[in-house]
């Protein structure tokens, strides 16, 4: 995750990933905001893995999982001052100072203990489903920059895929981010173009893209075939950002 990512030489992969995750959480919070209140439409867990494996929220949320979005909104690790271009209500735009929440900072470390991380996710799912039998099945977005360093994740990954709530299976999407400018493969419907066993393993652990997710992909200009899986291989910064957009936007509860 310390590699340079994309075409901007100063951009470390870890910085980019932390930014995408913070923005994704930010957007989820905004979707749940009703004037000055937050509706708890979502509960969030973020698991990081590298040198350590476990909950990745910083600040007051350290160590916590399955957190109601209202609490997530109210407790970012800090608020950063940023500049954003907003309408001046007269046909132009002006730079406006905004407060942007940061929940987690970039971490880069060589190891990729994917099996251990999947095990934590599976246990979280089991607990969640036990407590919310009639709830909406959880969505799991997995982002990795390399192969598992603690064994084959297939079995524990299949255990995640097999979980369901209210008779619907969980949605498990996988995104592999690469710095090598290799050919990226987005949302394939079969594994014939995938280059190696690792990519095929992640493909097999990825849920088919439900219709609502396919619609969002289409809106982002991504064409998907029938049977497309929620899987990206050799993703660049654009595909990583889109992966989070596709994985979270369909749950827009109007």
């Amino acid at each position: 995750m310390s590699d340079v990512f994309g075409t901007e030489n100063s951009l470390r992969k870890a910085d980019f990933v932390a930014d995408v995750v913070n923005r994704t959480i930010h957007d989820l919070v905004i979707r749940c905001t009703r004037t000055e209140e937050i509706r708890d439409y979502y509960y969030l867990s973020v698991i990081g893995y590298g040198g350590t494996v476990g909950p990745a929220f910083g600040g007051s949320l350290v160590g916590r999982t399955a957190i109601p979005i209202s609490e997530v909104a109210g407790m970012p690790a800090r608020l950063e001052d940023r500049t954003k271009k907003v309408s001046d209500n007269a046909g132009g735009v002006v730079d406006t100072k905004i407060r942007f929440p940061i929940w987690m900072d970039p971490v880069s470390n060589g190891a990729t203990p994917m099996c251990q991380a999947f095990g934590i996710v599976r246990d979280l799912l089991d607990q969640w489903v036990l407590e919310h039998k009639n709830g909406f099945p959880p969505t799991i977005l997995h982002l990795t920059d390399g192969e598992s360093t603690d064994g084959d994740p297939s079995q524990v990954g299949q255990e995640i895929l097999s979980r369901s709530a209210n008779d619907d299976a969980v949605v498990f999407f996988n995104c592999h981010a690469s710095s090598r400018h290799s050919l990226k493969i987005e949302y394939p419907s079969n594994d014939s173009q995938l280059p190696d066993e690792f990519s095929k393993t992640l493909f097999n652990l990825s849920s088919p893209l439900p219709e609502a997710f396919q619609r969002v992909a289409g809106e982002l200009g991504i064409k998907t075939e029938v049977g497309a899986r929620g899987f990206v291989f050799n993703g660049d910064p654009v595909s990583v950002a889109q992966f989070f957009e596709i994985g979270t936007r369909p749950a827009n509860l109007r």
Binding site: T33, T35, E36, A73, L79, S87, D88, N89, R99, N252
Partner: protein
């Protein structure tokens, strides 16, 4: 010699209900009427917006109090801008959380349909304008005479164009205002309906018109519990989408 003119009287009944699972204070539909000026309107604040309930209320309240003809784009733009400014003013000096502040930057949106009557000899003529998917349905002799701007229940739910509170983006919407006019005969009933109940109404008119008669009878009697039970039944049997319900019924005296 003076001509004797007896302009028919108008009777009004109305109903608002929040979506199932929400409280009355969360209902983002709003209506207003002024019988003296013969002005009636209903608005549906978009849940995704900021303070949409307030925006919907502002629109209906001020439209029914408005005294000018409301004919030209310039006049309509000035009216909408003054309300947009008033909306922004309400939040300007408030200390908001980061998420409310962010949401407030995008403002509120609402669907809106307004109805007024003008005298034409001893008759009344109705005029209406509409933005988005709130509808006017003219009901004559137990059948739909006009439904406007949508007349097919299949056409609801496709991201309608809504009236924004941000004045910088109001004009495009205002240019697309739809207008309609028609003769108001004695006994005609004109319903202003927000989207979910409008779609229900159009379906029921085709497949179960007795349901509309039952609903109308309840509106006439104005017994809140009966109406609530009717709506609950329609939601339970799947004929009515779970959304806020807003109805303003105006009848020209028979």
């Amino acid at each position: 010699m003076t001509e004797s003119r007896v302009i028919p009287d108008l009777s009004v009944s109305c109903y608002l209900a929040p979506k199932q699972g929400s409280e009355a204070r969360e209902c983002e539909d709003s209506y207003s009427f002024n019988k003296t000026r013969r002005r009636f309107c209903i608005a549906d604040g978009a849940t995704e917006g900021f303070a949409s309930r307030y925006w919907a209320r502002l629109l209906v309240k001020h439209w029914t109090q408005y005294k000018k003809p409301f004919e030209t784009l310039e006049e309509r733009a000035a009216w909408a801008k003054s309300l947009g400014d008033r909306f922004d003013e309400r939040w300007r000096d408030r200390q908001l959380s980061w998420f409310a502040e962010e949401k407030a930057r995008s403002g509120a949106y609402a669907a809106f349909v307004a109805l007024w009557f003008v005298e034409q000899g001893s008759h009344l003529r109705w005029r209406a304008i509409a933005i988005g998917d709130a509808c006017l349905v003219v009901w004559r002799q137990k059948a739909i005479l006009t439904s406007f701007p949508l007349d097919d229940p299949q056409n609801f739910g496709f991201r309608p164009i809504l009236l924004p509170s941000k004045s910088s983006v109001q004009n495009t919407t205002l240019e697309g205002i739809e207008e309609r006019t028609g003769e108001a005969l004695p006994g005609d009933v004109l319903f202003l309906l927000t989207d979910a109940i409008a779609a229900w109404f159009l379906r029921a008119a085709k497949h179960a018109p007795e349901q509309i008669l039952e609903f109308e009878e309840m509106l006439n009697r104005g017994i809140r519990n009966d109406l609530d039970e009717f709506i609950e039944r329609a939601r339970s049997n799947g004929s009515l989408r779970n959304d806020d319900v807003g109805v303003l019924r105006t009848q020209v005296a028979p």
